[in-house]
């Protein structure tokens, strides 16, 4: 009896998984039901084409919310897109959504923005849902206690046709962060510190649940930043248990439950949290107070260090693969071992992306940028994650702070996170970027990316190099 009770204790991941199993038969991959399907222009066209060629229809158009974000220009939006291939992709997206009756926030729509910023703004994702998108940063929506993960284009087609996906059950990892963050350390720094600690393959095969007092203290925006980067640690998804902050955030939004269903939904959401005594397959623990503002120094998000640190030397790694990776990264990044992080000069600052393109990110960056001037020779661009973020920031006067400090204030889009829209680094240029990946060439061929938080990015813009913002 005791054993049975023990066996019934479940993690939040297991609860969501079990409640979405449509088929679970021996010899087959379990078939998981999908509640929400998010879309953008880059990973969907071939899926629509496949559907058309097979004579299949979208099973539930209401489960889909689509936007245009990766290829869209962040300035001169009233003019046609100059890049003809990108323009064709944007047009194809519009045609596909029209043909299939899908809700699309196109470039001119006041709801337009980066998919993972837009979706929460409209309350489209709720706790306990299974959410997919042809985009690895779908993990963002785990902030709401939804099982949200990135899929490939074949799977996009599969979900459109069947509303399900064959899936393998993941292992569970608990990442506990207790205590209080130091001044200006943020969710981004937690995410980078975790990736630094467990590596970009550390979470492979796992779904991470973030727990601990430092996670509870994060705002919904902070939790989105954190879960967004679960993928950088290799995890299938990241989860934060829903609480009052989640419910307050959702209430009243367009696609959130309303009367007479709100109470029913709330009771369900409250039942989703991990049971006391449920076991995780792995646990990782960090102390919030130990997390300095982080700066990546290499070409992988695991190559990261506190701002008070130094660029590591290859020989400081005992693991041969890591030693070689460090050597390659330093050569690409044009960095010398043992250089102080705060001595690294930058050419461009980018604040935005699905990681750090929300109102809170621009508030903290504006707080740091206020009354400063962008350093000589440095370009600084602020790209809101959505038009709603943009307008809210303007209502709060943040745009003026950036503009007076010499920043550019752009229209929303993925922009320099992956540099598909023409916003990019040139060869050898070095950025302080609030995005999520510092891979070679990610922000432009030969471009050198340092991942940081919005506050760190803003401080670097005026100094022209990284600064320990705790000392400002």
């Amino acid at each position: 009896m005791q054993a049975l009770e023990y066996a019934m204790k479940k993690t939040m991941y297991e609860k969501i998984w079990d409640s979405h199993l449509v088929v679970d038969e021996a010899g087959q991959a379990p078939l998981l039901y999908v509640d929400r399907h998010l879309m953008h222009e880059v990973t969907s066209p071939q899926a629509f084409e496949g559907l058309r060629m097979a004579g299949r229809k979208v099973r539930n158009p209401h489960s889909i919310l689509a936007t245009m974000d990766h290829c869209v220009p962040t300035k001169n939006r009233d003019q046609p897109i100059a890049d003809l291939i990108a323009r064709k992709q944007i047009e194809t997206m519009a045609e596909n959504c029209l043909e299939n009756g899908l809700n699309l926030y196109d470039m001119k729509n006041p709801n337009n923005g980066v998919i993972h910023v837009v979706v929460p703004e409209h309350g489209f994702v709720h706790p306990g849902m299974v959410v997919v998108c042809g985009d690895s940063h779908t993990a963002t929506h785990g902030a709401f206690g939804a099982l949200a993960f990135g899929i490939g284009t074949s799977e996009v087609e599969h979900v459109m046709a069947t509303q399900t996906l064959p899936q393998k059950r993941s292992k569970t990892m608990q990442v506990v962060v207790n205590g209080v963050l130091s001044k200006y350390a943020s969710a981004k720094d937690i995410a980078l510190a975790i990736t630094g600690k467990i590596g970009t393959a550390g979470g492979t095969g796992y779904v991470i649940e973030y727990t601990g007092s430092a996670i509870r203290s994060l705002s919904m925006e902070g939790r989105m930043t954190l879960c967004n980067m679960a993928i950088e640690a290799g995890a299938r998804a990241g989860l934060v248990a829903p609480d009052e902050k989640t419910y307050v955030y959702l209430k009243g939004r367009e696609f959130a439950p309303s009367d007479p269903y709100w109470d029913q939904a709330l009771a369900y959401w409250k039942s989703l949290t991990t049971d006391e005594g449920a076991e995780f397959d792995a646990t990782v623990t960090l102390e919030a107070a130990d997390i300095a503002p982080q700066v990546s120094w290499g070409t992988s998000p695991e190559q990261v260090i506190g701002v008070d640190g130094y660029v590591p030397a290859p020989e400081s790694f005992s693991d041969e693969i890591k030693r070689q990776a460090c050597e390659n990264a330093l050569a690409y990044m044009g960095l010398t071992p043992n250089t102080k992080i705060t001595d690294i000069a930058i050419d461009l600052v980018f604040i935005g992306s699905c990681t750090n393109g929300r109102i809170e990110d621009f508030r903290i960056a504006a707080e740091v940028a206020k009354g400063t001037q962008v350093a000589k020779g440095v370009t600084a661009i602020a790209v809101p994650g959505s038009y709603h973020v943009k307008h809210q920031a303007e209502d709060e006067g943040l745009d003026k702070i950036f503009l007076e400090a010499g920043w550019e204030w752009r229209d929303p889009g993925c922009s320099m996170c992956l540099a598909m829209n023409g916003d990019e680094l040139t060869k050898g240029q070095r950025s302080a970027s609030t995005s999520n990946r510092n891979f070679e060439g990610r922000q432009g061929k030969g471009g050198r990316t340092h991942l940081v938080s919005p506050a760190m990015a803003a401080a670097a813009a005026s100094a022209g190099h990284f600064v320990d913002i705790r000392k400002l």
Binding site: Y33, V42, I85, S136, G234, M420, F439
Partner: protein, 203 residues
């Protein structure tokens, strides 16, 4: 999708870990709305010099590896972006098999949707396979999916594990969606229950 049975081919060596999908197919090639033609851009930024000529230092440009169908690569291959353009490029270039110790989840799933067999071996096995290629570039390996076996001239013969569902799909070349739609009654039944349990999602 072409069924995958047993292949003998040159094995190309890419002795790098954490190869991300941004390298496999850089972002400037993601704007196309077609599924084909990505092979020409595989590993573009590593493979070509700025003037468009072949980068002779890049391993896959070695003449010995030119017609390889098997790619032997370091840990955590395919990390980062979910772009299925990565396996499209790999397949279009001519590879149908990858051997590594580990793959990023999304990339791994994407491979099997495109007829690419992604094999996991342990570190010791990978080191032996890499050493054999390094010592004899142009060496041909045999990969037998039916019997889940790699055999090499150097005697590095290993069995590998693979999920039975993925294996049978690759062997038959069957379309996943068609398989799932055999369960359409169960999906409909699930949706009926879903509507009762979560009426706010359908309001």
């Amino acid at each position: 999708m072409e069924p995958y049975k047993k292949h003998e081919s040159i094995a190309a060596l890419m002795n790098r870990s954490n190869v991300d999908t941004d390298q496999i197919i850089p972002k400037q090639f993601l704007k196309k709305v077609e599924r084909s033609g990505f092979g020409a851009h595989l590993f573009h930024d590593w493979r070509f010099n700025d003037d468009g000529s072949d980068n002779q230092d890049f391993e896959l440009n070695k003449p010995e590896f030119k017609s390889a169908k098997i790619l032997v690569a370091g840990d955590n291959f395919g990390c980062g972006s979910s772009r299925e353009h990565a396996p499209w490029a790999i397949a279009d270039y001519g590879f149908n098999t990858i051997i590594s110790t580990s793959y990023a989840d999304i990339f791994y799933n994407n491979c099997f949707k495109n007829g690419i067999l992604a094999i996991r071996v342990d570190k010791v096995q990978l080191d032996k396979l890499m050493a054999e290629i390094a010592a004899n570039e142009g060496v041909r390996f045999v990969v037998d999916l039916e019997n889940q076996q790699i055999t090499t001239p150097g005697g590095n013969d290993f069995n590998f594990e693979i999920d039975p569902f993925r294996k049978s799909n690759l062997l038959s070349g069957l379309d996943d969606i068609g398989l799932t739609l055999k369960h359409v009654d169960k999906i409909s039944h699930y949706e009926q229950q879903h509507k009762q349990n979560f009426p706010w999602l359908w309001a």
